[in-house]
């Protein structure tokens, strides 16, 4: 936490947003049937009452993109186009999910497609004051401060903490909206009380019969991984021209461990052929396998994989009840 924090009054926030909108494609949470991050039109539409139904992941790790083309034996790179974007109102779980994706796509790998989108984005958080719904459990997930700016809601005004150069620069550039303050942000500002997960090391529970409570309700529909802010699995295929199969686009698109095809190989062999294996793999990857390799939990506790599940499989409850 910085020594200097800033104050942004709520009525001033509207002017600030209208101002940055001229320079940045500005995304804010807007509630219609559900809450989605949408390009800002009228700042009064912003709604912080719930988290966005979908994460903003698609802006960086694109749902489907051409990664290069080839024409006979010639490699044709794609032009990496990106815009300056501001995301205003990201929750702590989702900021940590971006942290995990940054780790995967920018540290572990040097993924030019992700990086080109991500580099130009400014992340402005909105700190939850309480658990947003009955499914989230971020309190258990060791989240860290990962943002350019973070807003703490103090009813009539926000306290604003800058974490990065990008965040500082933004405040400097738009300083007329911000006032310095010597308030010290403490645990009582940053604590979010949510439900908990009572064991994150589930290595000994793989064969526990309680998994059936989830497996029996699972339809292998992949809604969970589609909505997860941390899932990074994808598939790659070539789309060839109809008249000339030597000309093609190589396309990367999202995929999911919940699908049989994800682990299907030649001779029709499928490594995770059963729903049981796929269901457990998701939970184990989110809680266990990724952590064993990389020392961080992949899951950030946002609860979307439960909210978005057609049968509302509460795997956290299942784990909590395992004896």
């Amino acid at each position: 936490m910085n020594l200097v924090v800033y104050i942004l009054k709520k009525d001033v926030m509207y002017d600030f947003l209208l101002d940055i909108k001229n320079k940045f494609e500005t995304y804010v949470p807007i509630k219609k049937d559900i809450t989605r991050f949408k390009i800002l039109d009228n700042p009064k539409d912003i709604d912080f009452s719930e988290n966005s139904y979908f994460p903003v992941k698609e802006h960086f790790f694109r749902k489907k993109e051409v990664i290069f083309q080839f024409n006979g034996s010639n490699f044709l790179p794609v032009e990496l186009k990106s815009k300056n974007k501001i995301f205003f109102g990201l929750r702590r779980c989702d900021l940590n999910a971006i942290k995990n994706q940054d780790f995967i796509f920018m540290k572990q790998h040097n993924d030019p497609y992700y990086t080109s989108q991500r580099k130009k984005a400014v992340l402005i958080g909105y700190h939850c004051t309480k658990a947003l719904n009955k499914y989230c459990f971020c309190e258990s997930m060791n989240l860290t401060d990962y943002y350019d700016l973070m807003l703490f809601d103090k009813t009539n005004y926000f306290l604003v903490d800058a974490k990065t150069e990008k965040g500082e620069n933004l405040i400097r550039k738009y300083k007329k909206y911000f006032k310095k303050s010597n308030y010290k942000i403490s645990d009582k500002d940053t604590y979010i009380k949510t439900r908990k997960i009572n064991k994150k090391d589930i290595s000994k529970f793989y064969d526990h019969k309680d998994w059936d409570k989830g497996i029996n309700l699972c339809l292998s529909c992949s809604a969970c991984t589609e909505m997860c802010p941390t899932c990074y699995c994808h598939e790659i295929h070539d789309n060839t021209e109809i008249n000339n199969p030597r000309n093609a686009k190589r396309i990367r698109s999202w995929s999911s461990c919940q699908l049989k095809e994800f682990t299907s190989v030649a001779e029709n062999h499928t490594f995770r052929d059963t729903k049981e294996a796929r269901f457990k793999h998701r939970i184990y990857h989110q809680l266990q396998y990724f952590k064993e390799r990389n020392k961080i939990n992949l899951c950030t506790g946002c609860g979307r994989c439960i909210t978005g599940c057609p049968t509302k499989i509460d795997w956290v409850k299942i784990i909590n009840e395992m004896r």
Binding site: A223, K275, P310
Partner: protein, 217 residues
């Protein structure tokens, strides 16, 4: 290289699936160049009905004439492709299996002997089907990539993602959360969730996914 000999046929159906082939406006001529269309009674005057490599069959079997045509064509082709939901699942006409006869008996044609009704069923109840292009109507991209694959001797891979995948990718809210029914989770996608995008429930026109559910009979 010799071109594959192809036939497009329709039995009981609305012809919409055959239209989906024609609606490939941008690439129709390229496709036609790759194959030899030996028969397509819907749009062609001269049709040779022997020795096909592939027949794309639209529609379901609803009377004895359908059955006769289907059996004869199957004997004359190496591969039979079910084109669209009627051929694949029996679609709307076959829904009567889920109700009592007294609920539909008054709708049957009884006077005309030549269209005497038989139990409506998808084509795989009568003949071996080698590949299914599902959907009501089928998606033109799927038709195109299937033809692209077969002319290049690539084994075509059916699209098997559930509709939920596309529905979530289209950032829709979920109908189930609004207490509406939806078969999306267990239905094979590829339609870009066109129904749920517009707030209509998925009624499963593309048939069940093959994700390994135990179906209760």
């Amino acid at each position: 290289m010799k071109k594959l000999k192809i036939g497009f046929y329709g039995i009981t159906g609305c012809a919409g699936c055959q239209l989906s082939v024609i609606f490939e406006e941008d690439e129709l001529l390229d496709i036609i160049n790759l194959i030899e269309i030996q028969a397509w009674p819907f749009i062609k005057e001269l049709n040779y009905d022997k020795k096909f490599d592939y027949i794309f069959m639209e529609g379901l079997v609803a009377d004895n004439e359908d059955k006769g045509i289907l059996l004869k064509l199957r004997a004359n082709t190496r591969f039979m492709v079910a084109l669209g939901a009627c051929a694949h699942t029996g679609c709307i006409p076959a829904y009567r299996h889920f109700t009592l006869k007294e609920n539909y008996a008054h709708l049957l044609y009884e006077k005309k002997e030549n269209i005497k009704d038989i139990d409506p069923n998808p084509i795989d109840s009568f003949v071996k089907v080698d590949y299914i292009i599902p959907g009501c109507p089928p998606d033109k991209n799927e038709i195109r990539s299937f033809i692209k694959d077969i002319v290049r001797d690539i084994i075509p891979k059916p699209y098997n993602n559930p509709v939920c995948v596309e529905c979530k990718r289209n950032n829709n809210s979920c109908l189930l959360d609004n207490k509406k029914p939806c078969l999306g989770p267990i239905t094979r996608g590829g339609c870009n969730s066109v129904c749920t995008n517009n707030g209509l429930e998925c009624w499963g026109c593309r048939g069940p996914t093959q994700q390994g559910h135990k179906m209760q009979s």
